[in-house]
């Protein structure tokens, strides 16, 4: 563990040998070709979303989705406004649960991680085991659903979108590992000797030093909140509490309903098909949903990669 953890702190070390004096042979070109190919495989579908959103609806209807459409159009993007108010509401809901859940989760998890890593705190052993058990054994989706709805009486409530994702064992372990390995215990001792109380030590010494780890865990939590569709699908029914992911699911269902339901008169269907740019507007909505993460991700990448690796190294 120590070797792995120690070398992680010097990512630049390895780079030295490969760059510089070594000349680039044909092997390198072939390697580059394959890595490039895989990158295209991973990224091309994302490009297709963007291209499709700006393609003419009729053109897709006739020629299918394409990276090189014959006709471009802004109609799809414009008709996202068709979901106008709902889209705005859903955006608000998603941002709200993401921000509140991530910040609250980071606070309670880092307090827990801090407490269980205090030397001489006898209850810490119990608290660590209490933290680990849910990783081994849990009630599963169904038991959770029944308990939340019938015992806690929670239905159609944003609490169900926020609290269940707030504390995860893995994230607490990542924070605890960081506290144990990267924050010198002497600092906290010194603070106590200087007369700082336990709370003050945590908020003024530990928490600021925990920032890199908080950034990593926070980013992973934020994407989990942003992308959570399952809890929303199970629990949320009213429109003003619908997050973006549920909106996407509803759009898909209504399109499918239109296409498959024979009770809708053919004429009505045709008329709707013409006026509502289904394919293009859906893709435009997908952009709206995934866009913010793509924009934020590059800024958090280095933290998140570090966080991922620290988490794998148990403290």
């Amino acid at each position: 563990m120590t070797t792995r953890a120690a070398t992680l702190n010097q990512p630049g070390k390895k780079m030295k040998i490969s760059t510089g004096k070594k000349k680039i042979g044909p092997g390198q070109i072939i390697l580059l070709f394959f890595v490039l190919l895989f990158t295209v495989f991973c990224f091309a579908p994302v490009i297709l979303v963007f291209v499709s959103a700006f393609t003419d609806e009729m053109w897709i209807n006739q020629n299918g989705f394409s990276f090189f459409p014959g006709e471009w159009s802004m109609n799809g993007v414009n008709s996202v406004l068709r979901y106008g108010k709902q889209l705005l509401t859903s955006y608000g809901v998603t941002i709200f649960i993401t921000v509140v859940g991530t910040l609250a989760g980071l606070l309670v998890m880092s307090m827990y991680a801090y407490s269980i890593s205090r030397p001489g705190f006898k209850l810490a052993r119990f608290l660590s085991i209490f933290l680990l058990i849910p990783m081994l054994f849990n009630g599963g989706q169904l038991a959770g659903y029944v308990v939340f709805t019938s015992w806690y009486g929670l239905k159609d409530s944003l609490v169900l979108l926020i609290v269940p994702l707030m504390v995860t064992t893995m994230n607490v372990i990542i924070l605890r590992t960081y506290i144990a390995n990267s924050i010198p215990g002497e600092l906290m001792e010194a603070a106590t000797i200087d007369g700082a109380g336990d709370y003050r030590t945590f908020f003024q010494i530990t928490l600021p030093l925990l920032k890199p780890s908080l950034a990593a865990v926070g980013f992973m939590m934020a994407t989990a909140y942003w992308n959570d569709w399952q809890n929303a699908l199970i629990y949320i029914s009213s429109n003003n509490k619908k997050p973006l992911q549920l909106l996407l699911i509803n759009i898909q269902k209504s399109i499918e309903f239109l296409l498959n339901n024979n009770n809708v008169p053919a004429a009505a269907r045709a008329a709707m098909g013409n006026t509502i740019p289904q394919y293009t507007s859906t893709m435009a909505t997908v952009i709206v949903v995934i866009g913010p993460i793509m924009i934020v991700y590059p800024f958090f990448q280095k933290y998140f990669i570090k966080g991922l690796t620290v988490g794998s190294v148990k403290g």
């Binding site: 990512p11 390895k14 070594k22 608290l127 989706q141 029944v146 995934i290």
Partner: protein
């Protein structure tokens, strides 16, 4: 430090207070629902509640085993997809990590890695639209490129491959990060010494790179064993558009349970499946951890 437990706890009362919020969340979100597993032995009635419902002993399980097709099929799918994804996933994660690590164009490698990771951040609710754009029978990119009209959404035989490709697309970039960090930690003196001894690139990869990845691979594999019965629900529920005609190759325990929660109120049978899932998961997890501890104590979870 020789104080008694209560005295010690009182001395650390600030830490107890700080641990309390997360403790309560774990208690109410993770622990209390465990009691819901008794539903597996009851004829669950919403109006009577979990404990008020009548006991039926092993009735739900008998029913589960009798309705062989559904239960066996979803269990089989769950396990087979686990094996497929784990084997292919591990090989690809490691391969991609080694390729990027060996690349002399470091800057490009970094950029390509960034692009490869992006799909992991796209929710399955959005992914299913992307998959649709590729495989729809009328407007799908693939059918247009091949000049065919293959109806992927009504042919279960294609789905193991479709789901595998989607899974590779979504998770490989992210999965390789972990292995890359191990590679970054290999002492460069090893490669230099091998160079001097005249070892070529292949020999270096075979004798230095891969052996140094083995511990991490072992640990990751063994720890994943605890999740055999759990699946990436979004992949099986969203990407397939929850299409009943595809269940023979796409239904897993998690997607089955989700469907029951959404569309049924007769939970006894589902509770039995859920119970089976939780208990098997626990046993496999204990077994895996026990094995990891024997092989690589550092990697053990507890």
């Amino acid at each position: 430090m020789n104080d008694g437990f209560f005295k010690n706890t009182w001395k650390h009362r600030a830490h107890v207070v700080m641990a309390l919020p997360a403790f309560l969340i774990l208690l109410f979100i993770m622990y209390v629902p465990m009691s819901g597993l008794v539903m597996a032995f009851k004829n669950f009635d919403y109006s009577k509640g979990i404990f008020g419902s009548d006991w039926v002993g092993l009735g739900n399980f008998e029913f589960l085993i009798k309705s062989k097709d559904t239960f066996l099929n979803m269990t089989k799918n769950t396990v087979l997809y686990y094996l497929l994804f784990t084997v292919v996933g591990t090989v690809l994660n490691v391969t991609v990590a080694i390729c990027i690590d060996q690349l002399a164009f470091k800057k490009m490698g970094k950029t390509m890695q960034t692009l490869m990771i992006i799909p992991v951040f796209i929710s399955y609710a959005a992914v299913q639209f992307i998959v649709f754009a590729f495989i729809d029978s009328r407007t799908g990119l693939i059918n247009h490129m091949l000049g065919t009209r293959t109806r992927f959404y009504s042919n279960a035989g294609y789905w193991p491959w479709i789901l595998l490709i989607v899974k590779i697309w979504k998770d490989t970039g992210y999965g390789s990060v972990l292995y890359m960090s191990v590679l970054a930690g290999i002492d460069t003196a090893l490669y230099e010494a091998a160079d001097i001894d005249g070892a070529n690139k292949w020999q270096q990869i075979k004798h230095i790179t891969i052996p140094s990845l083995i511990p991490m691979i072992t640990v990751m594999l063994l720890l994943s064993v605890g999740n055999v019965m759990r699946s990436d629900t979004g992949l099986f529920y969203q990407v397939t558009r929850n299409n009943g005609g595809l269940y023979s190759t796409t239904q897993v325990i998690d997607s089955y349970v989700l469907n029951q929660i959404l569309h049924s109120s007769n939970f006894g049978y589902t509770a039995a499946a859920s119970f089976f899932q939780s208990v098997t998961g626990l046993l496999l997890m204990l077994l895996a951890n026990f094995t990891v501890r024997k092989i690589e104590p550092e990697g053990a979870l507890f």
